[in-house]
């Protein structure tokens, strides 16, 4: 297991887990907010729809479905 933080909470996930799966497993389905403030989450799961974007290690708009969790990674959702 490796440890990442999702919105400052530590979460242990299996090595090789996508960030999207880690967020969903932590019980969070609101990955980001649309321009009009609606909750958004993964749709295609393969990097095409851009709905699952989160901030990873300070870089905004990263597709969580295409990112693999790394030990110490800091993920911020809901932006």
């Amino acid at each position: 297991l490796i440890t990442i933080t999702i919105d400052k909470k530590s979460v242990a996930v299996e090595d090789g887990t996508t960030v999207a799966a880690a967020i969903l497993n932590a019980g969070n389905t609101s990955f980001r907010r649309s321009v009009h403030g609606d909750a958004r989450g993964p749709l295609c799961g393969m990097g095409t729809c851009f709905e699952c974007r989160v901030t990873i290690d300070g870089e905004k708009h990263q597709r969580s479905c295409n990112a693999i969790a790394r030990d110490g990674m800091e993920v911020v959702t809901g932006e």
Partner: protein
């Protein structure tokens, strides 16, 4: 058949500004555009309202027009996103810092406030610029506007004052009696204003206008990444290059947090498609100045055509060979900035008034010295 006082060909920002100014004078105006409001060069550009010192005439026109924009600021709806972000002209080396100081003196002489930024002040103003840039010039009065809604705002003003819009009709001929449409109909008008931008020369070949293709990229939303419009000092060199393709670093913060990234210039491009080579040159140039731009995601890339004249100044005034046909075209990359002043000068000429600035440098009857 209905007769208008004025037929304006082109509903870009210049045509829209002319319509607003001429209806204000009580004229009965029709605006005709084959593709709709702000569908050509206007839609493709950046919406930077900038005082430019390319020449004394360009400074006079841009300054005058910038002042007119400021007078309109309170009237414009919020969706025009009129923001006073200022411009920073970024120097890449000591030679360009000499240019910064020259520019500072020149702007002061023309009543425009500017501040010389040293290396530290530049980094403070724009932390995402790379380290080691020697400084720049902050021109705090420059603004940005969302040119599509601003064009709509001007058209709406004209329509409130009685202007008619003919959208979807292609003008194929301009005469002293009005215009002829592709569908065989004609519109009778005492005065015609050719504001057809990059296509203006097709209707009145007296105007020497070449299409100068440009690329723009828009990123996703990164609030606060850039605070000012940033332009490299080498920009004028790029804008001035007469033939060869060129790129220059030019980024603009939008009120949405998105960043517009330019710029490229290409004469005689065969198609409007994105040209990967020049796009890469353009983004590489931007990454040299702002390495962290690499990390941002772009959501769209597009191209447009600037209407370029041989001396980088627009055509404003009566077209030789006609009795009552005027040009308001050829603004190259400054049409958003200079649209309002252009419209006032056209209105002044039609009404027989003296313009606030000398119209001479922009008259279509001027001759060009090739250089």
């Amino acid at each position: 058949m209905k007769t208008f006082d004025v037929a304006i060909v082109g509903a870009g920002i210049v045509g829209a500004a002319c319509a607003a100014a001429l209806t204000r004078e009580g004229m009965n105006v029709v605006v005709i555009d084959a593709n709709g409001i702000a569908s050509g060069t206007t839609a493709a550009g950046m919406g930077h309202i900038v005082a430019m010192d390319d020449s004394d005439a360009q400074m006079a026109l841009t300054k005058y027009s910038q002042d007119l924009w400021k007078l309109r600021a309170d009237e414009m709806p919020g969706n025009c996103e009129f923001e006073n972000c200022g411009t920073v002209w970024v120097a890449a080396n000591d030679e360009e810092m000499i240019e910064v100081r020259r520019k500072h003196v020149y702007y002061s002489a023309h009543g425009i406030d500017s501040e010389i930024l040293d290396e530290n002040k530049l980094r403070e103003a724009e932390p995402n610029l790379r380290e080691g840039l020697p400084g720049g010039l902050l021109v705090s009065g420059d603004t940005v506007v969302y040119q599509l809604t601003a064009t709509k705002f001007l058209i709406d003003k004209a329509v409130v004052n009685g202007a008619e819009l003919l959208l979807g009709d292609h003008v194929v001929k301009i005469t002293n009696d009005g215009v002829a449409l592709e569908n065989g109909e004609s519109i009778s008008a005492s005065i015609v204003v050719n504001a057809a931008g990059a296509n203006a020369a097709e209707l009145t070949p007296q105007l020497k206008i070449r299409k100068r293709k440009g690329h723009l990229v828009i990123t996703d939303r990164y609030d606060g990444f850039v605070s000012h419009q940033l332009v490299e000092l080498g920009y004028l060199k790029s804008a001035h290059g007469k033939e060869s393709d060129s790129v220059a670093f030019n980024v603009q913060p939008r009120s949405t947090g998105q960043i517009l990234l330019g710029s490229s210039r290409q004469f005689d491009a065969e198609t409007g498609e994105v040209d990967r080579d020049i796009l890469c040159q353009m983004t590489s140039r931007a990454f040299e100045y702002m390495p962290r731009l690499r990390k941002l995601s772009a959501v769209r890339v597009w191209t447009g055509y600037r209407p370029a004249t041989p001396d980088n100044l627009p055509y404003i005034g009566k077209i030789p060979g006609f009795e009552n046909v005027y040009a308001a075209a050829g603004h190259e990359g400054l049409g958003i900035t200079t649209s309002l002043a252009t419209a006032e000068m056209i209105a002044d000429e039609i009404m027989g008034r003296k313009s606030k600035i000398s119209p001479e440098p922009y008259l279509p009857s001027r001759t060009f010295i090739e250089h």
